[in-house]
Amino acid sequence: MCLAVPGKVVSIDDSADPLTGLIDFGGVQKQACLEYVSDVRVGEYVIVHVGFALQRLDEESALASLKLFEELGLLEEEFGDAWQQAARDAGAAAVTEEPRESEAR
């Protein structure tokens, strides 16, 4: 969770409060709060941590970081199924998240 992943701002919802945008993390797209980088524009790269953009980053650095994180398997850890991961680690059957989990998205 401490991982801060660079992503590209795909769209911005100006009407959202707090300010929200869709961010692309090398193929995985997620909503993130843009309130702390409120003058960011579509197409720019930001560092996102637990759903919050914290700073801008240049494209070259962002793409290099994304490649590294993918190689390390950290993107899967960040965006993959945490219950399956925990079950694997425990050597146990997964306790699955019910469909209601999607309510949070």
Partner: protein, 380 residues
């Protein structure tokens, strides 16, 4: 240099390593504070590529690892209660409390949910007005702006069924605690890049001056880390001790002022207990009086839960850089990712997990090494 071909720019990596080798005329010990950096270092074998006079010591920069056992037990207690939806980041699921973890609580019927962001937990509270939604708010300065925003929004929306179980920690007091420990060997720091993305570097010059240590703000990629080491060694050789920013593309001197303002509105500095290390004065944040109504510790009356840590786990010494994971007798024997004694073995940023994952199996005994290998390759 067996790993160097894996660097995204092997030539630059070689040049940086050569320069570090040419600069270092005597032994230096540097601490990387951030768990993400630890994993990058072990994964790429940076500690093994460095000239032998430069030693890297792993620091306490894994928020999951330093969350105290009694707070984990508080979380397990709250998560077990009927009517509660307990929300956490995924990497807290397998952190061991006294006798179970959140994964087990879920299996026993507790409503534990994994969220990606604290705002997801807030949304759950909005949609489930008849349930109490509790978010496990751990983390360093990087995570604090997100958690602060969640509770700020909760108040603004008038949500009364949302609260945070807060165990926030701050890096500068940890650096101070490390430097004042009698057994401290650290001579320079690679400061955590993303913590500084939020907080800037204003807190560091005083530490650099008082303890006469270079503090080089460093990123996470292998080349970032080598560059941070190069600058720290250069300062040490010159007898300098100042703050340098080697991660300028993501760190401004004043950090992110909007994020800092939000932290200061919602949180106030407090003493915190660090798992395996003990209490460090002024090393954390708690909700201010104005937001105390959103404090799960009081709402669920779990503040009195106090737990002793198991003596067998030496995670505290690992977190302070006093021993390497493999120097712990439990490493790879009684303590593995499946049967962790401490959080450093389960967290994705824990030093013990990094050593285990990347098979640094030169453990304390041949038996330990054998046991680990068997578990990693059960068929062989």
């Amino acid at each position: 240099m067996k790993y160097i071909d894996e660097f995204n720019d092997p030539e630059l990596a070689r040049r940086l390593l050569d320069e570090i080798g040419a600069t270092a005329t005597r032994p230096w010990a540097l601490m990387e504070v951030c768990g993400g950096q630890t994993h990058s270092i072990i994964r790429h074998g940076i500690d093994q590529l460095l000239p032998e006079q430069v030693e890297l010591i792993h620091g306490p920069g894994c928020p999951v690892c330093v969350t105290p056992l009694d707070v984990i037990d508080q979380a397990l207690e709250i998560a077990s209660r009927p009517g509660v939806i307990f929300c956490s980041f995924g990497d807290m699921l397998r952190v061991p409390g006294t006798d179970r973890d959140l994964f087990r609580v879920k299996g026993e019927g507790g409503d534990v949910r994994v969220v990606y962001s604290p705002l997801d937990a807030l949304e759950l509270a909005r949609r489930n007005p008849d349930r109490e939604v509790v978010f496990f708010a751990i983390g360093f300065e990087t995570t604090a702006p997100a958690n602060a925003m969640a509770v700020h929004q909760a108040r603004r929306l008038g949500l009364t069924n949302f609260s945070l179980l807060v165990s926030h920690v701050r890096v500068p007091p940890a650096i101070e605690a490390i430097m004042t420990a009698p057994s401290c060997r650290v001579q320079g720091f690679l400061a955590a890049g993303h913590v500084c993305s939020v907080m800037g570097t204003a807190e560091y010059p005083e530490l650099a001056e008082r303890f006469r240590v270079p503090l080089v703000v460093t990123g996470f990629e292998p080349l970032d880390i080598l560059e941070g080491i190069r600058r720290a060694v250069r300062q040490l050789e010159r007898g300098e001790h100042r703050v340098e920013n080697a991660y300028a593309r993501a760190v401004r001197e004043d950090g992110n002022p909007a994020a800092v303002r939000m932290i200061e509105e919602v949180f106030e500095v407090t003493d915190r207990n660090w798992r395996g290390i003990g209490p460090i004065p002024l090393s954390g944040w708690r909700l201010t009086e104005a937001f105390r109504a959103y404090d799960a510790e009081h709402r669920f009356d779990v503040a009195d839960i106090r737990t002793e840590e198991p003596a067998e786990c030496r995670a505290g010494e690992v977190l302070q850089g006093l021993i390497k994971p493999t120097e712990c007798a439990a490493f790879g024997t009684t303590c593995t990712p499946r049967t962790p004694l401490g959080a450093t073995m389960v967290s994705s940023e824990g030093a013990c997990a990094a050593y285990y994952l990347y098979r640094r199996m030169n453990g304390p005994t041949p038996q330990a090494t054998h046991a680990v290998r068997e578990e990693m390759n059960p068929v062989a």
